[in-house]
């Protein structure tokens, strides 16, 4: 059935004046490039105006060495060599032309090419994001459906209340509570880091388990904090669908309650769910800045946090532009998925 829908959409789209789906995507991508231009311009301006200056810190250190040049001279020299003596707009276009050529520069804080640092740290962020997304889906959707089908029952109240608790808990607070209980009191996990103290002595399996052990609390934090909103979203949509006339028609046909809920109703609830989840897929690469920082997990979030506090302009610019690209890609994916799962929607 689902595959059939996709085929029909593409076919219908083809009939409507050439390859309209492809045209649509091209149009959206061009649009996204415009948005990206203004987003990066804003980010660059903001970063240049930030008080955390890498150059000043560096000059301070160099000037405090015995027999060194005075601080002012160091600042002037470093500004010139890092290209910070130019006005903001000129600096931005320098950055933009490098960026457009695929040259992301070297990270000041980590003294390696930005792209190399990115490759090192993206893996663990992706693993964390993917696992917590899967857990989120597995927990939120069934519970949301149950809450909706048994509206105002005890199960519904319990699920809704715990969802609300999950939504209301700030990440930093919840992560700290988890650490207090499971690391400090129980001693099951380390409070932070990716690897344990004797990581080097472990065999391959041991290394894997050690890393997995260190990821338990961060993933738990990510999942619990974000599962609530998806659960409520599922419940709301399911309730809306269950009150629709076509559900009554399905019951009037003599279908069993299970078939009514899991075939007729769920297929309709899936439309908003698929689009929201599809749209969040690029977000798997964006890392979790707060959680990674709290647990000192060397992922993209923690790394860019370090870069930002140090005033590392190349890395920060790269990370924030990357996030902007991911957001735009997410929007595009969710719009396309809408047309795929909902036969009423045509892209044009």
């Amino acid at each position: 059935m689902e595959a059939g829908n996709i085929v029909i959409i593409l076919r219908f789209s083809d009939e409507g004046g050439g390859f309209s789906l492809r045209n649509y995507i091209i149009k959206r991508v061009i649009f996204s490039i415009f948005i990206l231009f203004f987003v990066t311009l804003t980010i660059y301006t903001l970063i240049r105006c930030l008080p955390a200056s890498y150059v000043e810190t560096m000059a301070m250190q160099l000037a405090s060495k015995p027999g060194a040049k005075p601080y002012e001279e160091w600042v002037a020299q470093l500004n010139a060599s890092y290209g910070l003596d130019q006005p903001i707009l000129i600096g931005y276009f320098h950055w933009l032309s490098d960026f457009a050529h695929g040259n992301f520069g070297d990270s000041w804080r980590f003294t390696v090419p930005v792209i190399q640092k990115f490759r090192e740290v993206i893996g663990v962020s992706f693993v964390m994001g993917a696992i917590s997304l899967v857990l989120e889906l597995v927990i939120a959707i069934p519970l949301g459906v149950v809450a909706a089908t048994k509206q105002y029952s005890k199960a519904d109240y319990a699920i809704s209340a715990s969802a609300l608790v999950g939504i209301s808990l700030p990440t930093f607070f919840f992560a700290t509570i988890l650490k207090l209980i499971f690391s400090v009191k129980m001693g099951w996990f380390d409070t932070h880091g990716m690897v344990g103290r004797n990581f080097a002595q472990l065999d391959a399996m041991g290394k894997f388990l050690d890393q997995a052990n260190h990821l338990v609390l961060p993933i738990a934090t990510l999942t619990i904090v974000s599962v609530g909103s998806l659960m409520r979203y599922t419940r709301t949509n399911m309730l809306e669908v269950l009150n629709a006339d076509y559900i009554r028609t399905a019951r009037a046909k003599g279908l069993s309650e299970g078939k009514v809920i899991y075939h007729h109703a769920f297929r309709n609830t899936l439309i908003p769910l698929v689009t929201i989840v599809g749209g969040s897929l690029p977000g798997l690469f964006s890392g979790a800045l707060i959680t990674e920082t709290l647990f000192s997990i060397p992922g993209i979030g923690f790394t860019s946090y370090q870069a930002m506090t140090a005033g590392d302009i190349p890395f920060t610019m790269f990370y924030l532009s990357f996030i902007a690209v991911l957001t735009l890609a997410g929007n595009l994916i969710s719009d396309i998925l809408y047309a795929v799962v909902d036969p009423r929607v045509r892209l044009s």
């Binding site: 629709a244 076509y246 028609t249 009037a252 046909k253 003599g254 309650e257 309709n268 799962v341 009423r344």
Partner: protein, 387 residues
Amino acid sequence: MAKRKAEGYLSGKEARRISRENRKITNELEKKRKRKKVPESEYLTKMHDPNNAVEFDNLHTYFFTDAGTVKSVDGVSYEVPIGKTVGVVGESGCGKSVTSLSLMQLLQRPQGQIVEGEIRLNLGDKAVDVAKMPYEAVQHLRGNFVSMIFQEPMTSLNPVFRIGDQINEVIELHDGEGKSREDMKKRTIELLEMVGIANSEGVYQMFPHELSGGMRQRVCIAMALACNPRVIIADEPTTALDVTIQAQVLDLLRSLKDKINSSIMFITHDLGVIAEMADYVVVMYAGRIVEKGTAEDIFYHPAHPYTIGLMASKPVVGRQVDKLYSIPGKVPNPVNMPDYCYFKDRCEMCVEKCGGEYPCEVSISPTHKVSCYRYYEIKNQEGGDVS
């Protein structure tokens, strides 16, 4: 109740007490309905007249709302003879639809419950009492023995499934044994043609949003006919359609009426439609039947003041009036109904006796029954029976 400050005002305490009591009642009823593997003997019954397809007998369907118990259907009895069409008329909210939904057990759960009475359904070789049936058993009746055409064709079809699949589903569910997909498709196309869809092969592949309201209603009718049900409930099937399409759909229903051997329960506000379609007419008001009889009885000799008012408020072709007649006042609040004729406050023919308890049914001819004090004399003179 003493603390009630104004009509319809409930204190928080009162509302909580009501909803607690409601939950107690509905939980118990739901539990009974949800039982699995109930022996058939529990709901088997006998038709009082084997020529009837459905017999509603003293049906009470209540809604346990937070504002109080709404007696949507309060002691309704009427019969639907095999192969005949019964029209049910009345204002909005008088219990027409709830009566039919009770027959399908499609009431809004858990608030809506059948609390008393019998709905005897003739299945041919046996008869069942739908009011006593658990959900599990009712499923096998829906779509198979009783089917329903709903009011809103625009929203009654599932937007994400194809028309063909939606009709196939019913056939597969009840008649699917030994049928291949091809057979089912053949039957579905045949049904689509029967309801006057010309491009039946094309429509089979379409999604509901690709069809107009009239076309969708035809599809709904095809779906209702799919398994040759014994009873078809048409719940205001033309209300949501524009006038020309209304006429087409009515023509279709009338022609189908002669082709198929089902009984039809036709629910509508529209007396003109009833006059064309129905063999028998039931007039309902505030959850009770005020008058019932053959179409001729009701249209040529309306007896109850409410029926007379309805007739008078119908526009007549060729007669010019400045203002259409309307019955004064409105339907009373369904919570806490008084124990006198519900129509008393709006009635222009009120007599002294009307202050008494709710009038019982009086037969003014073998087929024609009315609940009104004005006809008690006839009863007394002729010694007619009071049921």
